[in-house]
Symmetry: C2
Subunit: 113 residues, 2 copies
Amino acid sequence: MDADRIPPHPDVRTITLQQVLDALVDPVRRSIVTQLRDAPADLRCGGFDLPVSTSTATHHFRVLREAGLIRQYYVGASRMNTLRSDEVDEVFPGLLDAVVAADRASSRGGAPV
Amino acid sequence: MDADRIPPHPDVRTITLQQVLDALVDPVRRSIVTQLRDAPADLRCGGFDLPVSTSTATHHFRVLREAGLIRQYYVGASRMNTLRSDEVDEVFPGLLDAVVAADRASSRGGAPV
DNA sequence: CCAGAACTACGATGGCTGTCAAACTTTGAT
DNA sequence: ATCAAAGTTTGACAGCCATCGTAGTTCTGG
C-alpha cells in the first residue's frame, strides 16, 4: 500500500517551538512554506522552485515534516505536500502567518541595497 | 564619553528576517528576549538568568543587537538592554509577539510528556 | 591610587547541518 | 518486460556557530 511509504507525522501536541524555528530559519525551507501557502493546491516535491539538489530538497522536506509544519502523502510516484497551517496555529497562534508575511516583506521591496 | 563605548545599532529599515530568525532560533537568546519582555524596566547584561558563561552571553547580546532586536546603552559600568519591540513590529508585524507567546507556551505546560 | 565589578575581545574547539553525488526503490508508461 | 520519472537513503565533506577560558578595558568605591 501507499500508506506504508508515508513517513510518520508528529501529533500536533508534540510540536515544539524549537523544532518549528529550526525549520523556519533556513531560507530554502521558508521558501517551501511560502510557495505552499501561495499555491492553490498541494504540491509535489518536484513542483517547487528550489536552488538545491533533489537529495538536499528531500532533507528539507523531512525537517519540515518532523517539525509538524507539513503533511506528506503519496499520489502515485509523487509525494504531495500540504501546510498544516491550522494545526500549527492552534499550538502557536499567529506564528506561521507572521513568518510568512515577514518573508514576503523581505522578498519584495523590503530588501535593502 | 559613554557614547563611544556604545556599539552600533542597525537602522530599523536594514533589519532582515534572516537575521531576526537566526537570532530567535537560539534558546538562550530567546530567553533574553522573553526576560526583557517580562521585566518592568531595562536590564543590565548581568541581570539575566542565563545558563552560559559571561563571554558567551556577550556573544548572544551582540547577535541580538546586530539583528536589531535590542538596543544597548551604558549606565556606568553596566550595559543596559531594551527590546526594540515597536520598531521590529513596524517591519515584521506580529512576529515578535508570536514568538514570545509561543516561547511562553512551550515553557509552560505546553511541553509534551 | 587601587581593588574589584562588569563586560568585551580573542582564539580555540567541538558539534551540528546544509550540501552534493551515487546507488537504490517504487511507480507509471511504452 | 523495460525504461524513464520521482524521491529517498547513505556517506562524505565543508562551513558555521555556540561554547569556554583567558586576557584586557572601563567604571565605581574606598
